[in-house]
Amino acid sequence: MSPKVLLSSKKIDIILNRLACQLIEKHPDFSQVVLVGLQPRGIFLLDRLVNLLERDYAKGKVISGKLDITFFRDDFRRFDKTLAASSSEMEVTIEGKSVVIIDDVLFTGRSIRAALTALDNYGRPLDVQLLVLIDRRFSRHLPIQPDFIGAQVDALEGDKVRVQWKDDKHDDIVYIEKK
């Protein structure tokens, strides 16, 4: 079956602006906030949000980091493929700060569990929140729920929800591939 478009470029733009506003509403003092994008796909959302906050909402320098969770995943050796790592760029301390974990699609919640374990290595944050562009409802394997949601989607177990970020050839788009 051909992919079905869930969110167009225009809708994604509105959602990103709303998410930025929600972040500011929740955190009046942005100097105590660290945005952490998850490798490999959450970092695009992170970059866009940081860009928006710094440029359009004049939030000054937003503190952010990129976190790789490969070595903390619970499915190592469970599948036929080796887990490929990406680089972590965490030049920040999260001790006593409010951390917002940022990822593109929340599905089973296992990546987020791995991210919470990986975050332990960088200090004890004041609190941790979760921001996702797409929340695949009713598919969680763990008791993990997002605090900031771009859009909610109902999809079957084997379906794939993909986020394509803007580059030279494509526009932003979110689509679903039925199995």
């Binding site: 070595f71 190592f76 050796r77 080796t82 680089s87 374990t117 290595n121």
Partner: protein, 312 residues
Amino acid sequence: MKKLSVDHLLGIKYLNEDDIHLIFETADHFKEVINRPIKKVPSLRDITIANLFFENSTRTKLSFELAEKRLSADVINFSASQSSVSKGETLIDTVNNILAMKVDVVVMRHPNPGAALFLSQNVDACIINAGDGTHEHPSQALLDAYSIKEKLGDLKGKRIAIVGDILHSRVALSNIFALKMLGAEVKLCGPKSLIPRHIQSLGVSVSTDLMETLKWCDAVNMLRVQNERMDLNYFPTTREYAQLYGLNLKKLERIKKEIVILHPGPINRGVEITSDVADSKNAIILDQVENGVAIRMAVIYLLVAKLNIPQV
């Protein structure tokens, strides 16, 4: 995601270029991990690794043990001097007894060339060769190449010299395989008596003139004179060897260029390398030790990734 083409690390000659690049990429990530405040990841928490050292070792054993622990594996250590090997037990029996305790990976150093290959054919576990006699020492060659690459960039076309006791060195052989595979030019230098005949067939050049070799190379790997393996006198005196093939500051100044200096350790200070050179800024001997842990974490991680958990 790419996988290693092999199930064991027996020697560099069983790997291909893609394998080496995959190990280097993975090691980059582990190097970042071991420089964090908390230097541990939980990937191998359900794996048990046995370190079997039938021959003395400080660096390699510690490095492997640290790499295993940083990956959260359970580790058991064994050295031949305190074991039943001295009571006459065979290698396969020893290892099978250890495997009966549910060990997944065996890291082995053994004085006999081919011991790791022999073991991989006869027991059911992932084998990592930590040096087999005068044959290969693959993890050392990987970390040497990785350290040179860190300093000089891509190894393609780079000139690397290996100086000293080539005849008794497993490091030299593994280094030749790894460096050639990565596209570097390799020159061996040492007294004729310590260079194996027909070694040129591996695609390396040979010289007996240290100054000429130093002028030629971008990096030099100074090997230790392995007195413990010498059954007869290969050179007249240690003093003469140090004069002809030892690296000192005077010789480095005479070549009028900067070269990277490696040494696999342990150093015989004043024989193959003087203290002022070993402690100079161009010597990356301690970088090699740090990179050793990252490389060994990468090798273990990638090999264990191939041990799929059986579906229950």
